[in-house]
Symmetry: C2
Subunit: 104 residues, 2 copies
């Protein structure tokens, strides 16, 4: 099973939307950061600071990316990018496991 090696993990969870979305922060030796997160069904709006690469490990969702008015269906094994300083909306259909990479 794929693992991240030689990393630091922040013990405390990041908690959003009453716990329906939670994630763990992973720090890499090169200074880069990812979060491994889990989202339960529902619709959630997120704001980005850095550019983000959202890899869907498992689950099914629709995403409304900034500058578009069409929802995109995404499922396990797929990914999407979100620009920095933007807003995106996800509609989670089934419990979704993800990895978010913050791109400086």
């Amino acid at each position: 099973m794929p693992e991240f090696n030689n990393v630091s993990v922040v013990k405390k969870a990041n908690v959003y939307f009453g716990g329906n979305v939670s994630s763990r922060t992973i720090r890499f030796a090169d200074g880069s950061v990812k979060t491994l997160g889990f989202m339960l069904p529902g619709e959630y709006i997120f704001n980005t600071a850095d550019k983000e690469l959202m890899e869907i490990i498992d689950g099914e969702l629709d995403v409304l990316l900034p500058g578009t008015d069409a929802w995109l269906s995404v499922s396990g094994g797929q990914a999407f990018d979100v620009p920095a300083n933007a807003k995106f909306t996800v509609n989670i259909k089934t419990a979704t496991d993800y990895c978010c990479s913050f791109i400086k």
Copy 2:
């Protein structure tokens, strides 16, 4: 903020009870394993293989430990042990962030 350093993290989440409980597996250089997990409100029964130390990072729950018939209230900053090869029940009152250490 406390971190675990020099560890490996399994990318894929462990998912229980339809996603109401999810966790991430952390492997340490000495071969020991912990999970960092998150539980939404509800009642859940778990079975242990190894002995477990359950540290509650944040949240409020009641736990029914094996061999007892009295629920114990536990909250962030507190911990409890569960024997190996046992069953315990938690009733999660508020979204609960935990660290589970598996004791060989």
